[in-house]
Amino acid sequence: MDFAFTDDQLVLGSTVRQVLAEHCPARAVREAGRTGERLPGWPQLARIGMFGMLVAERHDGLGLRLADTILAFEEAGRAALPGPVVETAVIAPGLLPDDLQDRLVKGSLRVSVRLGDQVYAPDADLADLLIVEHDGAIHVLSSDEVRLTPQPGVDPVRRLFSVAAKASRGDSSRGDGVRSRAQAVPVLRAATVAVAAQLIGLARHLLEASVAHAKTRTQFGAPIGSFQAVKHQLADVAIAIDFAAPHVYAAAVAISDGQGETDNLRAAKAAGEADILRAVSAAKAAAGEAAALAARAALQVHGAIGYTEELDLRLWLARVWSLTSAYGDTALHRARLRAAILGDPELRRHP
C-alpha cells in the first residue's frame, strides 16, 4: 500500500499550477466574470495535455486514471479556473463518440453537460457540444441544435443555462452519440470527484488568502492574525481541509481501480460497487463542507473588505457556493452516506 502521490502525479499537479499562475491569475478570473476573455489559460492547458489526460491512448490521449490527474483538478480549483473544465476533461472522454476524441486531446472542443442530478448546464455558452439526458438516453448535441436560456446567479464566471433542443433538429442528429444512462453513471462519479478536488483547491486558496490577510491587516495595534480567535478559526479550516482531502484522493483511487484499459481484469479486484458509491459521496460531502468552512472563515477574517466586489475573494466564494451545489449537493450526498453506512450489513474497511 502506497497512498502517496507518485512523482508523475505531483509533477502534473505542479505543472498545472505553474501554467495557471502565469496564464490565469486572479485578474484574469475577474475579467472572465465581466466582459473579458472567458477562457483564460485554456490554450496553455491544452498544450500540456490537460484535456487529453483521461482520453484513451488509442485516441492519442494520455490514458491516465482519475487518481493520476486529481491534483490537476485541485489546482484548477485553487486558481478558480473559468470554463467547463470538468465537463470537457472528465465527462467528454467517457461519453463522446470515438471520432471526436482526438479533438478533445487537441483542446479544440469544449463540452457542457446536463446529466444526473444537474438542473442547469454550466458554461454552456462556451461549449461546442452539449451532452444532455433526455427520456432516459444520453444525447450529444451541437451548440446550434439547442436553445440556451441564461440563468444568472451568484457566480459571475461559472454561468448556468437551461437547455432545450431546437424544434428543427432530428430525433438524434448524431445517432452514434446516443448512449444509455448506465454508461453515464461511472463518468458522472468521476466528475463528482473531480469537482470535489476543485473544492479542496478553492479551500486551500481561501485559507492561504486568509492567512496572508491576517498577517498584514492590523486592528487595535496588532496584526489580526495574532489574536487567538482568528488563529483558532483558521486552524479549524486547516484541519477540515487536511481531513477532507484524503477522502477525495481515496475516491479517485477507488474509481481508478475500475478504470483503464484492462477493465475486466481490474474490475475483479476493484473495490465493490457500494464502496465506490460511498467513497464518491464522502469526497463530495467532505470537500464541500471544508470549502464552506474556509469560505465563512475567509469572509470573517477579511471583515467588511471581503464583502466588496473589489476584492478577488468574492470570486472564490462564489465558486465554492456554485460547486458545492453542483453534481449533487452536500445534503444529497450526506443522505446517500447515511443509507450506505447504516444500511450496509458488511461494513468493513479492509479485506
Binding site: Y120, G153, L160, Q300, T308, E310, D329
Partner: protein, 377 residues
Amino acid sequence: MNLEFTRAEQDFRAYVRGWLAEHVPARLPSMDTAGGFAAHRDWERRLAGARLSVVSWPHCYGGRAASLIEWLIFEEEYWAAGAPARLGQNGIFLLAPALFAHGTTAQQDRFLPRMACGDDIWAQAWSEPEAGSDLASVRARAERVDGGWRLHGQKTWSSRASYADWAFGLFRSDPAATRHHGLTYFLFPLDQVDVRPIAQLDGRHGFAELFLDGVFVPDDQVLGAPGEGWRIAMATTSSERGLTLRSPGRFMATADRLVRLARTLDPDPVLADEIARAWLDAEAYRLHTYHAVAAGADLGPAASMGKVFWSELDVRMHTLALRLLGERGLLDAAAPDAPDSGAWLHGYLFSLAGPIYAGTNEIQRTIIAERVLGLPR
C-alpha cells in the same frame, strides 16, 4: 409573568396589521438604485402619513409614543407583512436615540420631523479605511474655524450614502488627543461630499466611501459638546448592537418563510431538524427580547449577546434556505427560474455581513467575556 397581550396591545396590532394589509406595495426595486431609493422614500412618506414610521417617538415629532412592547408588535407585523426594508433606518434607529439624549431642542425640532417623514434620509459615517471594528482609531479631522468646523478625511462603509441627504459621524477635533479622546459628533449634509459607491458581493451599492475636503459645518450641527463624541457614539452603537438594530420581528418573518418553504419541498429529516431549530431560535430571540423589555433592563454589554445570536441565526436561516433550494437557490433576480425572485440569495449575501458589521462577533464575544462575565482583559 405572562405572555398575554393587553387589550390595547391587541388593538394596536390589529390596526397595524390592517393598515399594512391594505398598503404594503409589491416588491420595490432595490433601495441601492436611484429609482429604488425614490420608491423607498415614497414608502417612508406613506408610513409617516399613517403615523407608523416612528411609532415609539413622541406625538410632536410624528410618532405615537408607543411602548416598547408596542414597538415590538409593530415590527412583528411589519416584517410578517413582507413590507419593504426601512430606508430611514440609519437615522431612526442609530442617530435619533443620540439626538433625543444629547441634541438641543432646536436640533430635535430641526431634524426629527424631517427624518420621521422621509424628507431627510441619513447615512452613517462610522468606519474609516484600515480601522474596521476599531472605531476609536479615527483619523478624519475637524478643524476649528469661525462659527463652526471644517471636516477633512475619508469615511467608508457608509450605508445608504450613495443617495442619502445627510450623514453623521465622528471626527477628531483635538489633534493632540488619541484613541477615543478629542472626538466630536457631527451632522453634515452630503451635497458637499464626494461620495463613491462600493460594489458588494451581491452586486449592489448599499455602501459608499465619503471623501471630505474641508466641508464647513456650523456649530449648531455638532451633537453634544465638542470632544464628547465617543461617549455619545457608544450609546448609539450599543443600540446598534441591541434592540433597535434588529428587532425580533424580522427574524421571525424569515423563520416563518423558511418553514413555509420547507413544507413545499419535503426536505430530508436532517435539514428539517435544523430548520425547526432555527425557527425555535427565532422564537428564543423574541422571548428573550420580551423578557428583557419587561424587566426594564438597560442592555449595555449584554446587547452583545443578542448581536451574536441574531447575526449567526440570520446566516443559518439563509444557508438552510439555499440548501433546500439546491442549484436554483443560487440564481439571482435576473434568472427566469430564480425562486422568490432571488430573495433568499440576496438575503444570504446580506446576512453574511451581520457577523462583521457593528463590531465583529469576535469582538462581541470578548465584550461578553470581559464586561458581562468579568474575565480579565
